[in-house]
Symmetry: C2
Subunit: 206 residues, 2 copies
């Protein structure tokens, strides 16, 4: 929460660049809280503004509309998940996926945002529809290629179908995430490990 | 769509029981369309009433509030999915799951409703939160027990963990559903078959 006595960015002599940036980030942070609970459709600018302690007009000084604010929330979420995944040159596909699963379990807000937005985005009229469909397609294509190379190197079971496996990895990540969000006694890490060990790993089963 | 010239149920001499029931069902059908696009939070009674061709007050003659209407939409959805799954005495767990996956691919509205509502329900304040958390817990417990018996009978790989596998089956179903909703060129049936064959089936891998 930013307190009410802070001026809106750019307004008056105290509206410095740094203050404006801090206010802008406070809006993004509160928008994450709201959108991750009720989604894009359910989230209102009025509620976000109230949480930050600005008027709706003050909020619109920083973001043209709900879609622009929502896009920034998603952009920052993606950045954080990329950081958590680590450098792709240093980690394998599965290593990265495991890091993301472990990270998601420590950041309920971001995980919840993703779960609700990806479900909402299935509506062809949702502002993120095209983006999310493309995300999964690109991710599946990249994972398929990496799995094929893993099969050639003997690191991935050679009897699984890499195109299907690529989609199943995302499916398991999304599915266990939903179960953990519904019930935090569900631990995502052993669930993902079981899937990797028993489905992908050539050492199992004998 | 029900046309505007039909009277609201119970109002006037033409408001027979059958008319009232037809109107009530029309409300549930249109509510499914709306909730499956924008979720419980985003769905408005006003929009649902408009689609049916009744006033919001006319709608409230049939359902006390949005939560009651929403509960009826979910109840009817569950009934349809149970019918699709078939008699549990006649079908194995995996057979039932396969039937549900195939059925979901033919009923986008219901599948989309489930995807969005299960994601929204992760919020502890959502009206379906407790119900959805309990659903997954019960389903996992039942599936675990069935998988254990399958292992004893040699029908399920004996090196998988039945408690984790039970959660993974739901996770895969939910995850592939999301990908299909985002992009209908994704076929859920071979994805689920790959998972079952390579993860659960003792005949694979050799």
């Amino acid at each position: 929460m930013v307190t009410d006595d802070q001026p809106a960015a750019g307004r008056g002599p105290r509206g410095s660049y740094a203050t404006g940036q801090a206010r802008r980030q406070a809006i993004v942070d509160e928008a994450l809280v709201v959108f991750s609970r009720t989604g894009f459709h359910g989230g209102s600018l009025r509620e976000i503004a109230k949480r930050v302690g600005v008027t709706p007009a003050g909020l619109l000084h920083h973001f043209a509309d709900k879609e622009e604010l929502f896009a920034e929330v998603l952009r920052q979420r993606d950045e954080k998940v990329r950081d958590a995944a680590g450098d792709p040159a240093e980690h394998t596909l599965i290593g990265q996926a495991k890091r993301v699963v472990a990270h998601n379990q420590t950041s309920r807000g971001l995980t919840s945002l993703y779960a609700i937005v990806s479900a909402e985005a299935t509506d062809p009229e949702h502002p993120s529809h095209t983006d999310f469909a493309a995300r999964y397609r690109t991710r599946a294509e990249e994972a398929e290629e990496i799995l094929r190379r893993g099969q050639e190197a003997g690191e991935v079971r050679d009897d699984i179908d890499p195109a299907l496996a690529a989609r199943l990895i995302s499916a398991v990540m999304d599915g266990i995430q939903l179960q953990w969000l519904l019930d935090e006694t569900v631990d995502m890490v052993p669930l993902f490990d079981e899937f990797v060990q028993q489905y992908l790993n050539p050492a199992h089963p004998s």
